[in-house]
């Protein structure tokens, strides 16, 4: 299904990515497994607790898929929401699909269920690693309005592959949080261009945190995801040492940079001011020559 990924709901993203008629949802809205905690705070619940999880096919191959609904509590992870993601990843160990696709659209932990949300994110991360150690590739998709923040940004970076669209952002602390604690001199959250170039997917792609930038289009996400089916990043001691070296050399190379444009210039990007204007294809051409690549 062609169409904007950004504008689509969680279920429409799933339906658009999967082969027609192949989606089977687990604990869907009719099961009405809702948050037991929100009513205590007089807050509305969602019948799926803000995440759809299930099984389907892409190009005839079986995948497990989860999509966070960014319109419910900013896609934040509560007890039920988190457990659905963890259960899905553990199912991957049992049925060995071609991949698990995680469609993140979230601010991170749901503060109304703070402790349960935090531990849930830890459980999701462990389940991602369990699936990876079982040989199932886990692919993160980041292209929703909420980006991918907080503990969930750690989970995304624990996956084998990350695909983002231009609209996507991937970072641990939100701009408002940094500004509130450290002041606007440290981070001006109103400066959208600053937010974008510090946390946006193009910057992440250039410094090697994500693997592909695609157009804001469901078809484009599907095509990119298919390239990673059956392909895992190893978790051997050698692979972990290579990641260590990669992260260490990146930290050293850019330790004096205070703006993404300095980093891009150092990577050899000419006229770094035009990066925001490049369309995904032009940008991928640039990235394939300039970006650092994680092992």
């Amino acid at each position: 299904m062609s169409g904007s990924y950004l504008e689509a709901s969680a279920r429409n993203r799933i339906l658009g990515l999967l082969d027609p008629g192949s989606f089977v949802e687990f604990l869907g809205p009719t099961a009405r497994v809702t948050s037991p905690h929100l009513p205590e705070l007089d807050m509305p619940v969602a019948f799926d607790d803000g995440v759809a999880v299930g099984e389907g096919k892409i190009g005839g191959r079986t995948v497990l898929i989860a999509a966070q609904e960014g319109k419910f509590m900013g896609g934040a992870v509560g007890e039920v929401h988190g457990a659905k993601l963890t259960g899905l990843l553990e199912r991957a160990i049992d049925i060995k699909p071609a991949a698990v696709l995680l469609l993140f659209d979230t601010g991170g932990v749901r503060l109304q269920e703070a402790n349960a949300g935090l531990i849930a994110v830890g459980e999701i991360q462990r389940a991602v690693l369990a699936a990876r150690h079982a040989g199932v590739p886990v692919i993160a998709l980041v292209g929703g309005r909420n980006g991918c923040y907080g503990g969930t940004s750690i989970v995304a970076r624990t996956c084998d592959w990350i695909i983002g669209s231009e609209e996507g952002r991937l970072s641990i602390s939100g701009p408002e949080v940094i500004e509130t604690v450290e002041g606007a001199e440290e981070f001006d959250s109103q400066d959208r261009a600053l937010v974008w170039r510090t946390m946006g997917v193009k910057h992440r792609r250039l410094i090697g945190d994500i693997d592909r930038v695609v157009a804001d289009d469901i078809d484009a996400f599907r095509a990119a995801a298919q390239d990673y089916f059956g392909k895992s990043r190893p978790l051997t001691l050698d692979a972990l040492n290579a990641e260590q070296e990669f992260l260490a050399s990146r930290l050293k190379r850019f330790e004096d940079c205070r703006d993404a444009r300095e980093i891009w210039a150092r990577l050899g990007v000419n006229e770094s001011g035009r990066v925001p204007d490049l369309d995904p294809e032009q940008f991928e051409n640039l990235a394939s020559s300039c970006a650092v690549r994680r092992p």
């Binding site: 089977v24 687990f26 604990l27 869907g28 009719t30 497994v33 037991p36 905690h37 205590e40 999880v53 007890e79 039920v80 988190g82 457990a83 659905k84 963890t86 259960g87 199912r91 049992d94 503060l111 109304q112 269920e113 703070a114 402790n115 349960a116 935090l118 531990i119 994110v121 830890g122 459980e123 991360q125 462990r126 690693l129 369990a130 940004s153 750690i154 989970v155 995304a156 970076r157 624990t158 970072s171 641990i172 602390s173 949080v177 940094i178 604690v181 450290e182 440290e186 981070f187 510090t198 910057h203 410094i207 001691l237 972990l240 040492n241 260590q244 992260l247 260490a248 930290l251 980093i263």
Partner: protein, 242 residues
């Protein structure tokens, strides 16, 4: 480092290992080894309520990788002591989430490769700092009196728009919301609180059977988090109903 925090850590290590430990303190990082019941244990951690920056996450990962390379199977005691992830423009720019993910992936890998990886929250752990460290260990324990939280109550009140007073009432009855080790124990995030005979606690932790992830089941058993285990199991089985 302050004399007070050095003394507090030295007391912890003395209670655990008597004189049989050698730990170096380097700014926010501590590392070394100890002998416990005839076995060598690697010790690693942060101190003085450190903020987990990209570089501090990376330094810890280096030690975990070294232990895996040089001493296969050696247990690792991770002292968890932090004020959360570092909030700075630079840490976002460089992608601290990737550095933290790497540290937790290394801790997880050590556990899967047969190292007993035990977390111990010393005084404080917050949010992303807990996720980077204690939540990636096999089992995480806490010293009595330690503090654990997602966010300060004032900030939580502001963001959730729940008045501070009401939040205080709610947190008394609901382990999901309130700060504190007891709440995190009830929801299964903390395996147990260590007080009194620390050596007995460590002995027990080292002998505990290795499980994939016991936290949900513990949360259900302890009545603090009733749905997570059931929901995850239903999805794992591909069910339509709980």
């Amino acid at each position: 480092m302050s004399e007070q925090s050095r003394q507090s850590l030295e007391r912890l290590f003395f209670d655990l290992f008597g004189g049989k430990y050698a730990v170096e303190f380097e700014s926010s990082l501590l590392h070394g080894e100890a002998t416990f019941q005839g076995k060598t244990i690697a010790i690693l951690g942060t101190l003085e309520r450190a903020y987990i920056s990209a570089s501090l996450a990376l330094e810890q990962a280096r030690y975990v990788l070294d232990v895996m390379r040089d001493h296969p199977g050696r247990p690792i005691l991770l002292v968890v002591e932090n004020s959360g992830q570092k909030l700075s423009l630079f840490d976002e720019l460089i992608g601290n989430n990737g550095y933290i993910a790497h540290l937790s992936t290394c801790l997880d890998a050590a556990r899967r490769r047969g190292h007993k990886v035990i977390g111990l929250v010393h005084e404080l752990a917050i949010s992303g700092g807990f996720m980077a460290t204690g939540m990636a260990t096999g089992d995480c324990y806490a010293c009595e009196g330690a503090e654990l939280r997602v966010m300060a109550p004032e900030a939580m009140s502001r963001i959730t728009r729940i008045p501070l007073e009401r939040l205080g009432e709610l947190t008394k009855s609901n382990p999901i919301l309130g700060p504190g080790v007891k709440n995190f124990e009830r929801i299964g995030a903390i395996a147990g609180v260590w007080s009194g005979d620390l050596r007995a606690h460590l002995h027990e932790a080292l002998s505990a059977p290795e499980q994939e992830d016991a936290r949900r089941a513990r949360g259900a058993e302890r009545g603090g988090r009733l749905l997570a285990a059931k929901v995850a199991q239903a999805v794992r089985e591909g069910r339509q109903r709980l």
